[in-house]
């Protein structure tokens, strides 16, 4: 047992100070996407919906509906349209009601016209 005691003392403290202090290790982790509303039209929205493997996206008329709860941060939507979809950087995502996870992104009529 002295072996472990000495090792532990030498090792020091590795414990995070979260939530009192932010934790740098969160920076490396995948996060749900953020959508550039000004550059996504219905056609692109439909492509993004099709490429999501977790049914986190669907289109309701002129609105792209994003359910953050279903998102696995796999990055496929970002790969499909990197100019329109970027990592949000958000990982503190806990919610207290289902409605908090459903985000509406307004679509433009036609991009490039």
């Amino acid at each position: 047992m002295p072996l472990w005691f000495a090792r532990g003392l030498r090792r020091g403290i590795v414990t995070t100070r979260y939530p009192a202090r932010p934790d740098r290790s969160a920076a490396g982790l995948p996060t749900p996407p953020a959508f550039r509303a000004g550059v996504i039209d219905r056609r692109l929205a439909d492509r993004l919906v099709a490429v999501c493997p977790s049914r986190a996206l669907h289109r309701d008329g002129g609105v792209l509906v994003f359910d953050v709860g279903r998102c696995t941060a796999c990055g496929r939507c970002q790969e499909a349209a990197p100019w329109a979809v970027t990592p949000s950087g958000e990982f503190e995502l806990a919610g207290t009601s289902p409605a908090q996870f459903v985000k509406q992104i307004g679509l433009v009529q036609e991009v490039g016209q």
Partner: protein
């Protein structure tokens, strides 16, 4: 349909003689031999007698049910698949000749309705008790429901059975044990996993490879790279796609990182099961550091999203690898050395949960469990393909087959993984994927997961959609060794220790 080049040799040649056929298909990752149903028993006798390892047995629906047996001809560096169309509802009993087949015979019965002749009772495997005729199956409902292996609360002679689970201790997967005991010693142990059956093989049908890999990674998330690799390789074999060498090097790095963190996690679980909290904490520090290395190098703590059909979706951040890996592995090594010097810990591991060499061979076990019992199977060496063909690992083997042997095998493998990662990283890994040709086909893929050989067999139609996907993570094979390990003169408190040393998952076997 005879392969002209090379001429069938070794076991393949003797098999063809034994069944009186010259028909062979080479391609799709394996050599395939169609075997008529009347010759199936002869074929199985012959292959089992020749020392071939029965790696998997599964069925495909169609006009008839087709049985495929996947044999590892490990010394001959190839897989052999026998393919048999079953006309009626019965086929020759295989598990008498090859005991490794019993669980699969049960699985085929409940999914396809065909069973081995002889009337031996078959157990429920994946489908829940209420699964009626409408419950999704890969084939047709069997005429008779499978037998229920049950655990009544009775005292019967010297032993009684009691059920444990599926909701068990904190932070572990749901798993149901039927424990047969005479009070303290374990007389028998059987497992139910149907409460974790997500029907992955059923779900994969109709998908293209890209969506299929998203689900395949999550079949056994702790072996995400390995299972995804086995499915991607099956697709590539089926369609004739060759991933770029740089992508294969990347896959190898990811797979070895997966092995490393799993072995660290197993070490932490071993410490927890023996009540050594300080050792557990040390192992968890190593584990957390290794997971952060994964995130830094590949963007995900558990390496999801690396493997893609045809190659890889992202390349490794070699700078982050160089910075993070030595420290992470150093923690693992120091914790392991301290554990090996702690007698109270070592005493719990020695002679616990013994799986004999004969049991490991008979049951077709794979991975560290088999290697610790003296069976030197390792698909990285037995089935050389890039990247391991150019960078062969040393296989870690021990003979005693107890928990200590498995722990030592894992430590040896961890050291070897670090060495391999260094070699692979220096050989020019990159990102990218070869385009997948059209046309459909069927193929076998494999990868050596931290738990052992993960196999997959995929058939695709002309549109590139999956018509049948067979997933066989290593857990499917190795849980059947757990009964034997638990039975060998162990007591209740040994069960978590043995379970940690196997380090399997319920998700991987229930799929």
């Amino acid at each position: 349909m005879t392969a002209l080049q090379p001429v069938p040799a070794g076991t393949l040649a003797s098999l063809l003689t034994a069944i009186g056929s010259a028909s062979v298909r080479d391609g799709g990752g394996a050599v395939t031999v169609p075997v008529p149903a009347a010759r199936l028993e002869t074929a199985v006798h012959h292959l089992a007698g020749a020392g071939a390892r029965l790696a998997d047995l599964f069925a495909t629906d169609g006009d008839q049910v087709t049985l495929r047996l996947v044999w590892g001809l490990d010394t001959e560096r190839q897989y052999l698949i026998t393919e048999t169309a079953i006309d009626d509802l019965e086929y020759p009993p295989l598990s008498d000749i090859a005991p490794a087949a019993f669980a699969e015979e049960c699985e085929i019965y409940e999914q396809f309705g065909v069973r081995p002749a002889g009337g031996k009772p078959l157990n429920r495997v994946a489908l829940p008790p209420h699964a009626g005729p409408d419950f999704p199956r890969l084939g047709h409902q069997p005429a008779q429901p499978p037998a229920e292996v049950h655990a009544p609360h009775t005292v019967a002679g010297q032993a009684f059975e009691f059920p444990f689970g599926p909701v068990r201790q904190v932070g572990v997967e749901s798993l149901y044990y039927g424990l047969v005991t005479s009070g303290e010693e374990i007389v028998d142990l059987y497992l139910f996993t149907w409460h974790k059956h997500r029907g992955l093989e059923w779900r994969l049908r109709g998908h293209r490879p890209a969506e299929a890999l998203f689900l395949a990674e999550r079949a056994e998330g702790l072996s995400a790279t390995a299972v995804a690799w086995s499915v991607a390789a099956a697709v590539e074999s089926a369609l004739g796609a060759e991933p770029p060498p740089a992508a294969l090097l990347t896959r190898g790095i990811a797979l070895e990182l997966e092995r490393l963190y799993n072995h660290a996690a197993a070490m932490a679980a071993l410490c927890q099961s023996t009540g050594l909290s300080v050792g557990q904490a040390a192992a968890e520090i190593a584990l957390e550091r290794l997971l952060r290395v994964n995130a830094a190098v590949f963007g995900h703590r558990y390496l999801f999203g690396v493997v893609e059909a045809g190659g890889v979706r992202r390349g490794p951040d070699l700078a982050a690898l160089q910075v993070g890996l030595p420290g992470g592995y150093g923690e693992l090594r120091r914790a392991a050395d301290a554990l090996l010097a702690t007698n109270s810990f070592m005493d719990r591991l020695e002679a616990t949960g013994i799986v004999t060499t004969e049991q490991a061979r008979r049951l077709g076990l794979v991975g560290p469990v088999a290697r610790a019992s003296g069976v030197a199977v390792d698909s990285r060496v037995d089935q050389p393909a890039a990247p391991y063909f150019g960078h062969p690992p040393a296989i870690a083997v021990r003979g005693t087959g107890d928990v200590l042997a498995r722990f030592q095998v894992m430590l040896d493998e961890a050291a070897e993984s670090v060495r391999l990662i260094g070699d692979l990283a220096a050989a020019g890994p990159g990102t990218g994927a070869a385009p997948l040709p059209g046309g459909g086909g069927a193929g076998l893929g494999w990868a050596e997961s931290p738990r052992g050989e993960a196999l997959a067999w995929v058939s695709l139609d002309a549109d590139g959609r999956i018509t049948r996907a067979r997933l066989r993570p290593a857990s499917v094979r190795n849980w059947r060794g757990f009964d034997d390990a638990a039975r060998s003169q162990n007591v209740f408190t040994d069960i978590p220790i043995i379970e940690a040393s196997f380090w399997l998952t319920v998700a991987g076997t229930a799929r």
